[in-house]
């Protein structure tokens, strides 16, 4: 994690292009006659931890889903590490996706596989890793998320918090450059949230991975973020380092939102 986080340019779109890992330009996304993203400009520099906050339905999750190619934009361009998605050939998309990992709100572990197999499946079939190597690496990752003893369990035998930690290990096993975290604690029982957030704090601190989080956990956002973006109605209301956004928000909409959730 970079030490000069607080010196981040306030408007992310004015950052230098070379270090930009993810870039959205004038991206518009509509569902029916509802505009979820409205000409959004937004970028994330390599190694930064960026958190998106804002009310439900403000388009935060849609940004992650666009980057993961789970949905397509109606207008605008999206580039990852300089390569453009939409349009891109299947082969190009697959190459770009290798750089991105995602953790979902509802974990989405494969119930028909053991915990270990959930983590090794993609490294073996996508990256062509040997099974032994993938197994060894999966065990390391399970150790990192505190579940070294659960290798042979089925997801259904784990608590929500444990499942989410496996999902984090599964995403990390692909060694992505950027990890997308989509409200990863929203579906958890309150007492399980801390365990998952601790794992993520640990990852944020000890690796140089780029994080793009959508979260309603403001304490977590404050802790790990280099930059926080406040969203409303498909637009960025304001952005800046967490100290400023949480400490002295400039926009009335941000103040309203924060006073409602804190």
């Amino acid at each position: 994690m970079s030490v000069d986080a607080a010196k981040n340019p306030e408007r992310p779109t004015t950052g230098t292009t070379t270090a930009e890992l993810v870039r959205l330009e004038r991206v518009t996304k509509r569902f029916g006659d509802q505009t979820v993203l409205d000409g959004l400009d937004f970028s994330v520099s390599a190694g930064k931890h960026v958190t998106l906050i804002g009310p439900s339905g403000s388009g935060k999750t849609t940004i992650l889903r666009l980057l993961m190619t789970l949905t397509k934009p109606d207008e605008g361009t999206i580039t990852v590490d300089g390569d453009q998605l939409f349009p891109a050939s299947d082969k190009q998309v697959r190459e770009i996706r290798k750089k991105i990992g995602m953790v979902f709100q509802h974990f989405n572990l494969f119930p028909n596989m053991t915990v270990l197999r959930n983590i090794t499946e993609a490294p073996v079939t996508v990256l062509g890793m040997s099974r032994d190597e993938a197994d060894a690496r999966a065990r390391e990752l399970l150790d990192l998320v505190g579940l070294a003893d659960k290798c042979d369990s089925r997801p259904s035998q784990l608590s929500g918090g444990q499942q989410q930690r496996v999902a984090i290990a599964r995403a990390l096993a692909m060694r992505p450059q950027v990890l997308l975290l989509d409200e990863v604690t929203s579906a958890l029982d309150p007492e399980l949230v801390a365990g998952v957030l601790d794992v993520l704090r640990d990852i944020a601190r000890s690796t140089d991975i780029t994080l793009l989080c959508v979260t309603h956990e403001m304490g977590f956002a404050r802790d790990i973020s280099d930059q926080v973006l406040m969203f409303d109605s498909g637009r960025v209301v304001e952005s800046g380092p967490p100290e400023r956004i949480f400490g002295e928000p400039r926009e009335e909409r941000t103040r309203e939102f924060l006073s409602a959730v804190l």
């Binding site: 697959r94 996706r97 290798k98 989405n108 494969f110 692909m174």
Partner: protein, 216 residues
């Protein structure tokens, strides 16, 4: 009405022949209907309607015409086009084809019941579509549909007597032949009736065991 045990023992050798044929038809018919139904279900998910449309029409046609008509058609009409198969082969194929148009709907429901999050996780992990189907979607879909497929096995068993119509000597065929030769109807028909119950009971036990193994 009197019950003649000697007729039972006289009929038994024929009964065993018939039972063997019934079991063959059931086992092979099941395999064909399970495999072909899956093929139909997968073809119906292809993006091009040039595949979906003909598959839809053909399977709709097969599902909505009687099995007996299909049996006659395959047995008496195909040879006119130079395609001749044994009666049992024709019968097995007809049953398998007919029931594949039902199992395809079972598979479809099973595939649609796999949560969209599973597809999304497979995409996020960059799994190739082939691997997504074979390692993620189908194992979960098939697990869900085993009970429903099992019901069709029982239905198929009860439809095997139709093969009699194209000269296949399965259990009912043997019973009828024996009855007509000896003018004794009660014993052979009772024997095969009991046999049908036993076979369907054993089949359901087998399927239940399979279900338990798959659903964990």
């Amino acid at each position: 009405m009197k019950w003649d045990w000697s007729a039972v023992s006289d009929f038994l050798p024929h009964f065993w022949d018939g039972l063997l044929v019934t079991l063959q038809a059931l086992a092979l018919g099941s395999v064909i209907s399970f495999a072909l139904g899956l093929v139909w279900a997968l073809l119906m998910r292809l993006p091009t309607r040039w595949v979906r449309w003909p598959v839809g029409v053909v399977t709709e046609f097969v599902r909505n015409t009687p099995l007996l008509v299909q049996l006659f058609f395959l047995f008496y009409v195909l040879p006119e086009w130079g395609l001749t198969f044994s009666a049992l082969t024709t019968g097995v194929f007809a049953i398998g084809l007919h029931y594949s148009t039902y199992t395809m709907q079972v598979y479809r429901a099973g595939i649609e019941a796999v949560p969209v999050g599973q597809w999304e996780a497979a995409t996020a992990l960059n799994l190739p579509w082939r691997r997504t189907w074979t390692a993620v979607i189908l194992p979960q879909a098939i697990r869900r549909v085993v009970p429903a497929l099992g019901n069709y096995v029982i239905s198929m068993l009860k439809d095997t007597p139709m093969l009699m119509a194209i000269t296949v000597l399965e259990m009912l065929g043997q019973a009828r032949l024996y009855s007509q030769q000896h003018f004794q109807f009660t014993e052979p028909l009772t024997v095969i009736g009991v046999a049908f119950i036993l076979v369907s009971y054993l089949a359901s036990l087998l399927l239940r065991a399979l279900e338990r193994r798959l659903v964990r």
